[in-house]
């Protein structure tokens, strides 16, 4: 990180179906609250992905934009270069699937992915829509994951990644796990503003770049988390 934290939002013109901007806003707010200045770049899919960013975000989208996004990211190479430099990445839903080696296209046909995560995705039998709750890998030391999923994907994790969490409620990857992580990349089916419901995940991404972070006022984050987890967790 240089004098300011650089946040790069990849392809909001293609992959920003529903509230994905929330992840950008939460990262900005949580950095600012700690006195860290931020600069955010929205990268159009027709433009090169900057290589010098600190935290990269990519969101969800429909089938066709997903395929276009994967093609353009592969051709561009900027994200690969940034990850090699040690940048952090949060990949959400359609953006998560395309980070793998293969994902399912419009008719379920295999489409080559970006290849930054050792995962393969295909199409499931039915759409997973609803609240999700999951216990995060203890190695990461994060509280219960909460959010909303809306996808038809089934994702198989290879040996090069670890599951981010084990689902309590919801579908996630489809095998009892939800999301994955490897190095400084986190992928998740929690769509849209996943970080708003999981501020600790936001802090994990930030701390990979900035080092340890002091606590901040989490009143509203915590109130929402408590309410949602109360609403969905089995009693």
């Amino acid at each position: 990180m240089q004098s300011e934290l650089s946040i790069v939002w990849i392809y909001p013109d293609l992959l920003s179906t529903y509230g994905d901007q929330g992840n950008v806003l939460v990262l900005e707010q949580r950095a600012r609250a700690r006195g860290i200045p931020t600069r955010t770049v929205h990268v159009r899919s027709s433009d090169p992905v900057p290589r010098q960013g600190d935290v990269y975000l990519i969101g969800g989208g429909e089938d066709r934009p997903q395929i276009l996004g994967a093609e353009r990211l592969r051709r561009d190479g900027g994200l690969h270069a940034a990850i090699e430099r040690g940048a952090a990445l949060l990949a959400v839903c359609a953006g998560y699937q395309i980070m793998g080696t293969v994902f399912g296209g419009e008719e379920g046909q295999p489409v080559p992915g970006v290849g930054l995560l050792d995962i393969t995705s295909g199409r499931g039998e039915r759409r997973a829509v609803g609240e999700l709750a999951a216990e995060v890998d203890p190695a990461l030391g994060l509280p219960t994951l909460t959010g909303f999923e809306n996808h038809m994907g089934v994702t198989r994790l290879g040996p090069g990644v670890r599951p981010l969490s084990r689902t309590i409620v919801g579908t996630g990857n489809g095998d009892g796990t939800e999301g994955c992580y490897a190095g400084r990349i986190i992928g998740t089916y929690l769509h849209g503003p996943a970080l708003a419901r999981n501020p600790a995940l936001a802090d994990l991404l930030l701390s990979w770049v900035t080092g340890p972070l002091p606590p901040i006022d989490d009143t509203w984050y915590q109130a929402l988390r408590d309410e949602r987890l109360r609403a969905v967790l089995p009693r």
Binding site: G19, G22, F148, G192
Partner: protein
């Protein structure tokens, strides 16, 4: 129209009875159940009720109900008009609307975006009015590019006259397969769903990228042009255009709107309504006075009173709708925001993060609704101070007497309306 076959007459009469019962028992306004009963008895009822009428179908993500009302008001200059005024916009609602007014030579039907191909097929409507497409309740609604593609296929080769907003690229793409299109430049403030070419996926060159969809400058809002950098798909030349408070007609004459309905979005709806009226030979000079009589539509923009508080109700169901509501809300007034996430609202509140609430800084803001904590966090992150209220009543009580703006999403809005009566 009055010459329906016996079976259709019976189905239509029983449907009306069911509707009356529904109203009498307080179970609903009858506009869905009546049609359902009718369709059960005579599946072909909609086709039969639609035959021999001059029909307009109105579809969009936002503004369907209001535009349907505006077009209806205009066409009443020519004769009786059957219409589904209360937003029951699927085939059962269409049956009820047409059965309720069997002798009306004109019909104006609001149609759910997904049902447009089916309703077009069944009714053989001669005029279709298409305004905008944007993200809306993604947990249950179709993806909008797929919707536009369905429109495109349904209109292809059909002898129908389409009136469409050419400032919305997705609408333009969906409409442009029709044999005859009148393009209206009605504006597009929410652009986050149309940065890419619907035809080839290439980048669209247009004003306003990179600010997260909000805070377009006045100049960017006014700049409605767009063109694909790669395949040449571009905004068609409009024959009608909204220009501030005025509508320019195909002859180049400017008409000052002076609507009672507030805001830019309603001026856009009126521009489209004027173009539809012209298809029926109704000049703006005759149609406009009719549009000006509309004050509120199914409770939207209604002002309700309680204990000296005068509250204006604004409905906003999705990010584009919130931008429109902010355009109407008075910056000098306190504002109550109410958000639910029941079935009709969409169970997913993620869309709150697509709305830029910073415009509310400096106003007294009160937050309520079943998902008030989602909204509370959203406002906290946006740096907008607010007061959290357990209920709408509590929010009202916390405010001093005077004028108040209220923005609510669908079921939250209906709950407030139910409490204050269904005055339209």
């Amino acid at each position: 129209m009055s010459q329906l076959p016996l079976r259709a007459q019976l189905a239509s009469a029983l449907g009306r009875t069911a509707a009356t019962l529904s109203r009498a028992t307080g179970r609903g306004d009858g506009s869905v159940i009546g049609g359902r009963v009718g369709l059960m008895l005579e599946p072909d009822l909609l086709r039969k009720l639609a035959a021999d009428r001059k029909l307009v179908l109105v579809s969009a993500t936002n503004g369907k109900t209001t535009t349907t009302r505006l077009i209806t008001s205009a066409l009443q200059e020519l004769g009786e008009v059957a219409t589904n005024a209360f937003g029951a916009n699927m085939p059962a609602g269409h049956v009820s609307a047409l059965a309720a007014n069997k002798d009306a030579p004109y019909g104006v039907l609001e149609v759910d975006e997904k049902y447009l191909p089916e309703v077009l097929d069944t009714t053989n409507a001669g005029v279709v009015c298409l305004m905008n497409l944007s993200r809306d309740q993604m947990d249950r609604a179709a993806e909008i590019w797929l919707l536009a593609q369905k429109w495109r296929r349904a209109l292809d080769g059909r002898p129908v006259h389409v009136i469409a907003n050419c400032d919305d690229p997705l609408v333009t793409w969906g409409a442009s397969s029709a044999a005859r299109v009148t393009w209206v430049s009605a504006g597009q403030r929410w652009r986050e769903d149309s940065w890419c070419c619907p035809e080839c996926g290439g980048p669209l060159d247009r004003a306003g990228f990179g600010n997260g969809g909000q805070g377009l400058t006045a100049a960017q809002i006014a700049d409605t042009n767009w063109a694909c950098r790669e395949c040449g798909f571009r905004r068609p030349e409009p024959s009608w255009a909204l220009d501030g408070e005025y509508v320019r007609d195909p002859q180049g004459q400017h008409w000052r709107l002076d609507l009672q309905l507030p805001g830019q979005a309603n001026r856009a709806n009126a521009a489209v309504a004027l173009a539809v009226a012209a298809v029926f030979g109704l000049e703006p000079g005759r149609a406009l006075p009719r549009l000006r009589t509309v004050t509120s539509v199914a409770g939207r923009y209604t002002t309700v009173e309680r204990d000296g508080r005068s509250m204006r109700l604004l409905l906003a169901k999705n990010p584009a709708g919130w931008l429109e509501a902010f355009d109407v809300a008075d910056p000098a007034l306190p504002i109550i925001l109410s958000v639910n996430a029941q079935g009709p609202d969409g169970r997913d509140t993620s869309w709150l993060w697509d709305v830029d609430y910073r415009i509310l800084r400096g106003r007294p803001v009160f937050v309520t609704g079943e998902r008030r904590l989602d909204l509370a966090l959203r406002l906290a992150v946006a740096g907008v101070p607010f007061q959290l209220c357990e209920s709408f009543e509590q929010a009202v009580a916390a405010l001093a007497p005077g004028k108040i703006d209220v923005i609510a999403n669908y079921t939250a809005f209906q709950k407030i309306r139910a409490e204050f009566g269904r005055a339209v």
